[in-house]
């Protein structure tokens, strides 16, 4: 079977970034992806295009331009106002067939992870989930391997002419990293983990000069098998684990006095200007609500300081926090695996240690 997208892959050019908006507001992931897309477009010497779907959203284009988009394709239609899998998939696939980008990235948000696989399957191309690093240029990729792997890069042979998008993601909870390519089909598609790519500085000049392209959108109610009845914002303020500089997490170790354990974590987090997280055990037991969960089946965080209280450090938890800049662990058991990745460890009862830590941190901060 010869597919339109494998017959002549050289005819695919340019970088596409899906720019997600919710209720007319862009997501912070959009700016991270546009900034990263700028880097890829420069490596490849091609155009960077933001793909924006919605209704009356053209005014958002300038902001995307400010972070590096050369052009924003605005697909405007009343049926695109709120995200639905079927309408968005149809319009995006139409756009890919018209514009033929070589690379197409989306944020790995709940919506990006719903949309990406559907689009990739319809376009008959590969998709790599939840990437944490992207390269096209081989020199840049090898620099990345030198700092981020145990490979002896300079003793290995590589095809330095390789121009595939190299999509790197953690495999198996970060024990392994895998770089994935999609050599035979275009576009190469990736979803990118929110909060990983660095947002570049906003450039007023670029914002003012962004090109806006408004193609005709072919869409009718017959294209849709789903109907959004309502969109509800969480009434309770959800904890922003991904954006936090400091995360203080609790685990099974708070079990003997759950309320006190959580209160101590909250106090410690407050002293350091952070938020409270929890291991899967604490969420499964109902001690904390699901938005607090750090780990493979919860959120992946990389704060400046991560404090693990009474968390043993199962792989599924480590997968969600091992890239934190500074990890501090308090655990009664000196053989707990969490100590293997901790920068600082204290072996002791968290109910005794944490009140003292709070005092010490307060004093240290006051002395500054």
């Amino acid at each position: 079977m010869v597919n339109y997208n494998s017959a002549d892959i050289a005819s695919f050019k340019g970088i596409f970034v899906f720019c997600e908006q919710r209720e007319g507001k862009l997501m912070s992931t959009d700016f991270e992806l546009i900034s990263e897309g700028r880097k890829l477009a420069d490596e490849r010497g091609v155009e960077l295009c933001g793909l924006l779907l919605g209704h009356d959203v053209e005014h958002l284009a300038a902001e995307l331009g400010g972070y590096g988009a050369d052009k924003v394709i605005v697909c405007d239609h009343p049926l695109l106002e709120t995200y639905t899998t079927d309408a968005y998939t149809k319009v995006i696939c139409d756009m890919v067939k018209i514009y033929k980008p070589e690379v197409f990235v989306l944020g790995a948000t709940n919506i990006g992870r719903d949309l990406g696989p559907r689009v990739a399957a319809r376009l008959h191309t590969g998709l790599t989930a939840d990437c944490t690093h992207l390269d096209i240029d081989m020199d840049n990729y090898l620099d990345f391997l030198r700092t981020s792997s145990t490979l002896d890069v300079d003793k290995m042979k590589f095809d330095m002419e390789d121009r595939n998008l190299k999509m790197t993601r953690p495999a198996f909870g970060g024990h392994l990293m895998a770089t994935i390519i999609c050599p035979r089909f275009r576009p190469c598609m990736a979803t990118v983990r929110p909060g990983v790519m660095k947002k570049s500085a906003f450039d007023e000049k670029r914002a003012a000069s962004v090109i806006i392209d408004k193609p005709q959108v072919q869409l009718s109610i017959e294209d849709m098998d789903t109907q959004v009845l309502e969109v509800v914002k969480a009434t309770k303020k959800l904890v922003d684990l991904i954006g936090a500089d400091v995360v203080v997490s609790v685990g099974r170790g708070i079990g003997k006095d759950i309320e006190k354990g959580i209160a101590l974590a909250e106090e410690l987090a407050e002293v350091l200007g952070g938020v409270v997280g929890g291991s899967r055990a604490t969420i499964d037991a109902g001690w904390l609500s699901a938005d607090h969960q750090v780990g493979q089946t919860g959120k992946t965080v990389h704060p400046k300081i991560y404090i693990a209280l009474g968390i043993s450090g199962a792989i599924q938890h480590k997968a969600g926090m091992q890239d934190s800049e500074c990890i501090i662990a308090v655990n009664k058991n000196d053989t707990a695996p969490i100590f293997e990745i901790a920068d600082y460890g204290i072996c002791g009862d968290l109910f005794k240690v944490v009140p003292m830590l709070i005092e010490s941190f307060k004093a240290a901060k006051a002395a500054k």
């Binding site: 079977m1 989930a129 199962a314 004093a363 240290a364």
Partner: protein
């Protein structure tokens, strides 16, 4: 109406992970479990069976030992099982896998009012891609991240969770829903279920069974055919050995605070 539930057998990551000398995962030495989110999919299927009396068919793709997992799910209450298994399918990426499973489901037969349940994502790959891709290949609508389900007539109304809230969505059947743990609490196997599970039908679909289905593009399955390939895999450098502080008294805490302050971490 019938209910199809897709599951995957995965290595257990709640314990220690065994890594071989070449840096790849030593799957053989690790215990296998039913993927956690898939248990919520199974429970959703069984609940819908309780309400409607519809038959539940559990489907997996994997090596022959995955039969054990299928028997367990039949002991929980599923009525039939299909094991999609073939050397040709091994090493498939999500695109390849979804074509094969979609062809398997088509072979079982998808009718109006049928519902397919999947877990949100598997803990060995964490992609969350196979569910939506099966739906696309079958040409049916999907709702992912489902936290509440209500069936009324030919439609299903469900809640799809977002990072900052949720959407209520009405979807026509047949459709595919991917389930998250907030949806329900999975039931245990029952004693009578365990007794019965070995007499329930288990069918194997191999390469020969599925290879002529037009849903499968034979050039894009298995390790070689999959659209995505591993360019390089590597282990991240070990972090420098951390400092295990002596003692656990106030002095220790002051020392830690002092070190962090000196490094401008706090």
């Amino acid at each position: 109406m019938k209910i199809i539930v897709c599951v995957k057998q995965v290595p257990d990551t709640s314990g220690k992970v065994a890594v071989k000398a070449d840096g790849t995962l030593d799957r053989a030495s690790m215990a296998t479990i039913i993927n956690p989110d898939d248990l919520n999919a199974v429970e959703a299927a069984l609940k819908l069976k309780d309400d409607t009396g519809a038959k539940v068919i559990v489907v997996t793709m994997g090596p022959p030992p995955a039969e054990g997992m299928l028997r367990e799910i039949m002991a929980m209450g599923a009525d039939e099982a299909v094991l999609i298994s073939g050397r040709e399918f091994g090493g498939s990426d999500t695109f390849a896998t979804s074509q094969i499973i979609a062809a398997g489901i088509k072979k079982i037969g998808l009718e109006p009012e049928d519902v397919i349940f999947c877990g949100r994502q598997a803990i060995d790959g964490d992609t969350a891609q196979v569910g939506p891709q099966i739906a696309e290949k079958l040409g049916i609508p999907q709702v992912s991240y489902v936290a509440e389900i209500e069936k009324d007539g030919k439609d299903i109304t469900c809640q799809r969770m977002l990072e900052d809230g949720y959407m209520t969505i009405r979807v026509k059947t047949p459709c595919l829903l991917t389930c998250i743990k907030e949806l329900n609490v999975p039931r245990y196997m029952s004693v009578s279920g365990i007794v019965d599970c070995y007499s329930k039908p288990l069918t194997v679909f191999d390469f020969e069974t599925l290879k002529n289905d037009p849903l499968i593009d034979l050039a894009t399955i298995g390790l070689k055919g999959s659209p995505t390939n591993i360019f390089r895999s590597f282990t991240p450098p070990q972090k420098g050995v951390g400092i295990m502080l002596e003692g656990n008294d106030k002095e220790t805490c002051d020392k830690l605070a002092g070190m962090l302050a000196a490094k401008h971490i706090i």
